[in-house]
Amino acid sequence: MKRTADTVVIGAGIAGAATAYYLTRLGQKVVLIERGFPCSGSTGRCIGGIRQQFTHDLTIRLMIENVALFKSLSNELGRNIEWFQGGYLLLAHSEEKRNTYEQAIAIQRSYGINVNYVSADRCREIAPGLSSDELLGGAHCPTDGQANPFYTVYGFIDRMKELGGTLLDYTEVTGISLANGRVSGVRTGKGDEIACPAVVAATGAWLADTGKLLGIEIPVVAERHESLVTEAVDRVLDPMLVDYRADGCYFVQNYGTGHFIGCYTPVPNVPGHDVAASEEFITEMPRRMTRLMPRLKGVRVIRQWAGSYEMTPDGNPIVSATRVPGFYVAGGLCGHGFMLGPAIGKHLAETVVKGKSEVDLSEFSLDRTFGKAEALK
């Protein structure tokens, strides 16, 4: 079947869904193509945290904007995305971590974020039941929060469809056509040809593969992260707890449902797209969670799974035009895709339609030197 579009967006995770939605808002005719189903890549495997506590200036600015966007998305999309401003509490179990947080807080406060280094006692007020073992204090930002990744992505897509956009799910992009060196269309595994002057690749952990369709090297690699979720219980915890120790973990209680959901970053990293569940994780994660919060010992685990972080050399996103006119990329979101996605989609849509965005994204360009690493990964 032959179709035409102003822009084809590849990948229906948060970055692609948000970009497609904001493109339709700017009046474009958009086709969003997804190899599996929306949220089948990394977004649907994430735990839904949204924080402003970063060290890269552009990430901080985008996250301030994202908190404002998430606040208004339920209204804008006409469905409850379960946004809850429960805060983030980054725990310090060493002087070194405390110093890292205090330096980060100085940067964050210069942008007006309400974030403070608080005592161990205050941490235990914010997170009742938190273990005091080795705890020195924490970096607390009460305006961070959480939302439901499924409801947010499907909310963006449903509203995009209402505005005239099209979702092609279970459809793989097999080629991107050029005419006179510019993007001219997209071919799919189902035999569709879509003529379009612009393509946005938002294929997350598979962004390097999409780049290869045009011979463009994109430095994104997949790293396996595992997660688990418990049964729903009464609400006892507001913030996302982050324990950055080598054998730490992070978890939050879902506002909408009461489930606890969490994961940890394996040391050393586990490269690749393997998303099988491991026996190590389903015993080690509960050990770490209950060490941090012993009162959770009786809460039952109902599911474990894995997903891919999409890592770049410096831990920062790639949101960029490329050397092929009409080909744009948004990915390499390094485990922060869900929280970064809405503003990135909004500004990439502006870039595609107007040639420049309201926020200068050049620090996330594909051509950068990948030197300025994010300290709060």
């Binding site: 599996g36 189903f37 929306p38 949220c39 089948s40 649907g44 499924f150 499907y154 449903d158 469809k161 979702l167 799910d169 279970y170 418990t230 049964e231 729903a232 449902t257 569940a277 026996e279 389903i282 015993t283 080690e284 509960p286 050990r287 770490r288 969670m289 209950t290 060490r291 959770l296 010992k297 009786g298 809460v299 039952r300 685990v301 109902i302 599911r303 474990q304 799974w305």
Partner: protein, 109 residues
């Protein structure tokens, strides 16, 4: 005249059964998702079990879909004509039955 509640079948002893409930039919009991909610999502164009699950949370609760996924698959088959045998079911994941964090953590050597 006041209409009587109707029952479709009588009991063997001749007593009438109560009228069929007009309450919505709950298909996913863990997450309280009804048959009509499921049909509405399918009619919006989401025709796979994976999509229905993510939009409505059916199958994401305590039983992990053991009770509801087959009835949902049958509803999906009625709506789309796709045989249940050709549907992709969500991946079963450990633990196959809910286990306490304390027990799992203590089993870690």
């Amino acid at each position: 005249m006041k209409s009587k509640p109707r029952s479709r079948r009588g009991r063997a002893d001749g007593r009438k059964l109560p009228a069929a409930s007009r309450e919505p039919t709950v298909v996913c009991r863990c997450e309280e998702v009804t048959e009509s909610e499921i049909r509405q999502v399918i009619r919006r164009g989401y025709t796979s079990l994976e999509e229905v699950k993510r939009i409505l949370r059916c199958g994401m609760g305590h039983c992990q879909g053991r009770n509801c996924l087959m009835p949902i698959a049958r509803i999906l088959s009625q709506e789309t004509g796709i045989p249940v045998s050709q549907m992709r079911f969500p991946t079963p994941r450990p633990p196959l039955k809910p286990l306490p964090l304390g027990l799992l953590g203590e089993s870690r050597k």
